[in-house]
């Protein structure tokens, strides 16, 4: 058999291109720490919007927290919400622009602590919006304090000896809660710590956008993610820690799927 050697230079041609950064992401370098799952999830959302061809039909709502500047990276119309209020802001947009796609992107502090009421009630009303919930069990932006989703025993800057239930209560499983509400249509929990999980997360988020067009209720995707800086680990260690500690408490999979 003859050598079919092909040089790298010969490979790098447009016709051989299989993956490149979507045009729906801007050229701004994201401010996230190395290895942070926010970037991955932003990219998935941008890819889905591009693949669905809905750039002109979508409005995003950014939260307060590490992803407060999400709108710098997404080449779509966006609104910045006050802390925790993204589902209310999205409700206002969607009710007045019912033909558009509207989504929120929120961390655990935003969605599961200060914004719990807005989350529960938007989901309970069945607002036809998509909620992407990043759960990394810690407050990243303010410097690694306890989140409502911080695991029992997990260390943070406000639980330096580990979260103690008698003092700080239990971590909250928001996705389980909203899956039990009649207003939600599709609820899933995924993660972005391996390429396989990233692919599954993309499928779940895509469904959560596609279902919005059906006007059947709120679509909610939790993404269990890491926080290397807040957890005080390398990115690789953090993903390993996520698999060993976060996933047993926050198991992955679809929690509510449309009835066939």
């Amino acid at each position: 058999m003859a050598e079919n050697a092909i040089t790298t230079k010969e490979l790098i041609k447009k016709e051989n291109l299989v993956y490149q950064k979507t045009k729906l992401l801007t050229d701004d370098v994201m401010h996230y720490c190395p290895g942070c799952g926010h970037g991955t999830t932003h990219r998935l959302i941008a890819e889905i919007i591009e693949e669905m061809g809905i750039q002109s039909e979508i409005i995003g709502v950014a939260p307060v927290g590490c992803s407060v500047l999400m709108y710098n990276y997404m080449n779509i119309d966006m609104q910045e919400a006050a802390h925790g209020r993204a589902p209310a802001v999205a409700t206002g947009i969607k009710r007045l622009l019912p033909e558009k796609y509207v989504f929120t992107y929120q961390g655990d502090g935003d969605l599961a602590a200060i914004g719990t009421a807005e989350t529960i009630h938007a989901c309970n009303r069945g607002e036809n919006i998509t909620i992407i919930f990043i759960n990394n069990g810690i407050y990243g932006m303010t410097g690694g304090q306890m989140a409502p989703t911080t695991l029992v025993g997990m260390k943070s800057s406000t639980t330096p000896y580990g979260r103690e239930v008698s003092q700080m209560g239990n971590p909250i499983k928001m996705t389980d809660l909203v899956a039990n509400l009649p207003g939600t249509y599709f609820v899933s929990r995924q993660s972005v710590h391996t390429p396989g999980n990233v692919r599954k997360t993309k499928k779940a988020i895509r469904k959560a956008f596609e279902y919005q067009a059906l006007n059947k209720g709120t679509c909610f995707v939790e993404v269990v993610s890491n926080c290397p800086s807040g957890w005080k680990m390398t990115p690789l260690e953090s993903n390993k820690w996520l698999a060993e500690n976060m996933l047993p408490f926050y198991p992955l999979g679809d929690m509510k799927v449309p009835e066939q």
């Binding site: 079919n4 490979l11 790098i12 993956y19 190395p34 970037g39 991955t40 972005v192 390429p195 290397p228």
Partner: protein, 75 residues
């Protein structure tokens, strides 16, 4: 037998050296450079181009979207 040949291009100055691509690569193509980029990070580069299959795992896990992947089936 058909052979799949791949290649990646890393946007060096966008790379933060998180190494997620390195563990995601099934064929150990990627290493961190000894050099640093403009931000001071050791960046990922294609150290073993011969074994790249263009599977895109590295690009899919990359939080910063700095990896472009090329792939060709060679018969």
């Amino acid at each position: 037998m058909a052979k799949i040949k791949g290649a990646i291009v890393v946007d060096i100055n966008g790379c933060k050296g998180c190494e997620l691509c390195i563990t995601a690569c099934p064929t150990e193509v990627i290493f961190l450079s000894d050099d640093v980029n403009v931000k001071g990070y050791h960046y990922a580069y294609m150290a073993n181009p011969d074994v790249c299959t263009g599977c895109s795992n590295c690009a899919i896990i990359c939080p910063d979207g700095v990896i472009t992947v090329y792939r060709k089936k060679i018969s």
